[in-house]
């Protein structure tokens, strides 16, 4: 939906309290960031106070801590271990039920209507991830009706990041930090000593409709500039990924010794695939009751890091950790381009933060790029490996 003509508005914190009720009146289930178990996760929001007010996150490779801020910002953090995919592409969902009668059976296609979600606090990298998953699950040869049913209805309140974590690299992936598409409303939070305001951009007619129920006024130019500058600062990121020719780089370096180096650290714990907002792999599980008359087929998240992922009769194709790490990274950064026309990575940095051993995908790419010589056989005399 096109943004309405460059007419950004400003909403005070007090007025923003009208947002969630306005969404609830439209029968949305409002989901947004909230504090739980020492992390910022996505769950139901009933009021603005349910947000992690006054909290920020400290992220580095293999490191995540929450810290108190010295203000009461609503969105003063980046992204946590969860992504919106857990609502649109659920970790567990029933595909169908079946009932047996003797030697025959009936498939009962009795899934209820999909939930109607409003997402509050969606970051630019996450909007990019939504687009990536749309391409995979809706816009390819077949349509995933579960994803489509949920995706079609979401209301998106995006948030422009005004800070970035050291693990963020959306700027180099050209997916952020500025929100530019796929939202209904976009907020940029501005906190000062005596003002707590949000510059609001409308991204759709539905968004405009909701905004009508929230007190707002035209945003003065200096405030808009302040908002823009804050977002620009978030674009100054510690990490970056150079994606020039990355497809050829990874395809041609299938036997690069770097894969062995990273495999020595990788636990194949699959955390990266769980936290990644674009990973979509699933498996199916068939269960039946004890009597054997009632069966269900469930779909669950799966990960290419598991031993069984590539199993065909006789054994798995990718048995080593090396093969599995290489598969994940090559798919994410290279094969994805052939399959879906874009990178699978949006630069959110979750995989870096949540890897227990701190493997950094940007560093792995750099290491391969910087040494593209054909791997030499290691000398039997030389015990010092090539690092």
């Amino acid at each position: 939906m096109p943004a309405t003509e460059d007419a950004r508005t400003v909403v005070d914190l007090t007025a923003l309290n009208q947002l969630i009720p306005a969404l609830a009146r439209r029968d949305y289930q409002v989901i947004g960031p909230t504090l739980r178990d020492g992390a910022i996760v996505y769950d139901t929001l009933r009021k603005l106070e349910d947000l992690p007010v006054g909290w920020t996150d400290e992220q580095e490779a293999g490191h995540y801590r929450l810290k108190k801020r010295d203000d009461r910002a609503l969105f003063g953090y980046v992204v946590g271990p969860q992504s919106w995919k857990r609502f649109l592409h659920p970790p567990e969902v029933r595909l169908f039920e079946a009932q047996r009668h003797g030697g025959t059976f009936q498939i009962l296609n009795n899934a209820g209507p999909p939930p109607r979600y409003a997402f509050v606090g969606v970051r630019a990298c996450e909007l990019a991830a939504l687009q990536v998953q749309d391409r995979v699950l809706i816009e390819d040869r077949f349509t995933d009706s579960i994803y489509q049913g949920r995706r079609r209805q979401i209301f998106v309140v995006a948030v422009n990041c005004t800070l970035s974590a050291p693990t963020c690299f959306c700027a180099s992936m050209k997916t952020g930090p500025r929100v530019s598409h796929s939202f209904d409303l976009a907020l940029t939070e501005i906190i000062e000593k005596d003002h707590h305001q949000f510059v609001v951009e409308v991204g759709s007619l539905t968004g405009a409709d909701v905004l009508r129920e929230i007190e707002h006024r035209e945003a003065p130019q200096n405030l808009c500039r302040q908002a823009d500058e804050a977002v620009d600062r978030a674009a100054l990121q510690v990490r970056n990924m150079d994606t020039t020719g990355i497809r050829e780089l990874l395809y041609e370096n299938f036997d690069h010794p770097r894969w062995d180096t990273v495999a020595n650290r990788c636990l194949t714990c699959a955390n990266c695939t769980m936290v990644c907002p674009t990973c979509f792999c699933t498996t199916v599980e068939d269960v039946s009751d004890v009597a054997g008359d009632h069966a269900e087929r469930w779909r669950r998240w799966d990960s290419c890091f598991t031993q069984e992922f590539s199993y065909i009769h006789g054994g798995s194709v990718r048995t080593s950790a090396k093969a599995r790490y290489r598969q994940w990274m090559t798919h994410k950064l290279a094969s994805w381009i052939d399959q879906f026309g874009s990178s699978g990575c949006v630069g959110c940095g979750r995989c870096i933060t949540w890897c227990p051993v701190g493997i950094d995908i940007t560093e792995e790419v750099r290491a391969i790029r910087e040494d593209t010589s054909i791997p030499k056989p290691t000398s039997t005399e030389d015990e010092d490996g090539d690092t």
Partner: protein, 288 residues
């Protein structure tokens, strides 16, 4: 002519490709000690979806699970036919179905053997073990439109004489004009008067015209590797005239579960039939 893979990959018109259609087992034929051929008809009597030779379906056994099985029947006959080898608990559950039992069927899915591209040429079919099953629909199609093709050569290898599939049909095919059928087994056993040796040993009996030959190959990946080496290195057949049917773990068959990826290709959507030219750079990679 049967539909192209594009035309038939619509899951038989059912909107949700993840929901099975109900079929009933009409007949079961025991081919060998562990391999059975099933003939299915739709539970509601409706005509089966059209399919192209080389395509596969996902067969659902109530409460047990689904398996990707190539269609092994005639594209012009009304029944859906599958040949299944029992190699584990899931296939064992499938082969224990008897006439009257129900199965769920999703599909057809995947790419087809290039029977249009092969017109006007010799068709060399090389099958190993259960690999003859996905090729049988192609053989039926070629024999039905015999004038569209020049020579038909079938090389077929199995583990032992007891494992040879479709023996009556092999006999009748060998009696068609301009058709050569050569069979061999890895292990002969007593009383076997036929050939013993791996399927690549059959090549020495052939004279091929490489510039007008299309090769269709299906069998264990290692066997396909050796057959392709023989064709490309010793016989001068072009990599774009050689087609193979690949296999990987499959959960959904519609490109969503991610399991069947082989390099950038989804075996369920971009395959299972591929030209060797497409896969050439991938086949030597270990643990791809």
């Amino acid at each position: 002519m049967p539909p192209t893979a594009e035309e038939s990959a619509t899951n038989g018109g059912v909107c949700d490709p993840m929901l099975p259609n109900l079929y009933r087992v009409e007949a079961v034929l025991r081919e060998t000690r562990d391999t059975f051929t099933f003939s299915l008809e739709a539970a509601d009597g409706s005509p089966r979806p059209r399919f192209a030779p080389g395509q596969f379906s996902m067969l659902y056994v109530f409460g047990v699970g689904e398996l990707p099985i190539s269609i092994s029947g005639d594209p012009e006959h009304s029944r859906l036919v599958y040949t299944v080898r029992s190699v584990g608990p899931a296939t064992q559950a499938l082969v224990s179905r008897r006439p009257g039992d129900s199965l769920g069927v999703r599909g057809p899915f995947g790419t087809a053997w290039p029977l249009m591209e092969a017109r006007g040429k010799d068709v060399l079919i090389v099958a190993g073990g259960i690999g003859l099953a996905p090729l049988r629909p192609a053989i039926y199609q070629i024999l039905r439109h015999r004038d569209d093709y020049v020579r038909l050569i079938l090389l077929y290898g199995a583990r032992s004489p007891q494992d040879l599939l479709y023996r009556k049909e092999l006999n009748s095919w060998s009696r068609s004009p301009d058709t050569q059928v050569l069979t061999t087994v890895d292990y002969g056993g007593v009383n076997w008067r036929g050939r013993v040796g791996v399927v690549t040993t059959l090549f020495r009996h052939l004279r091929l015209h490489p510039d007008r030959t299309v090769a269709l190959i299906c069998g264990p990946e290692l066997m396909m590797h050796y057959v392709i080496a023989e064709l490309t290195q010793n016989r001068g057949v072009s990599v774009s005239d050689i087609y193979m049917s690949m296999e990987r773990n499959m959960r959904c068959a519609v490109g969503f579960c991610g399991h069947c990826q082989y390099g950038p290709h989804f075996i369920c959507k971009d395959g299972p039939v591929f030209s060797h030219a497409t896969l050439r750079s991938l086949l030597e990679k270990h643990e791809l």
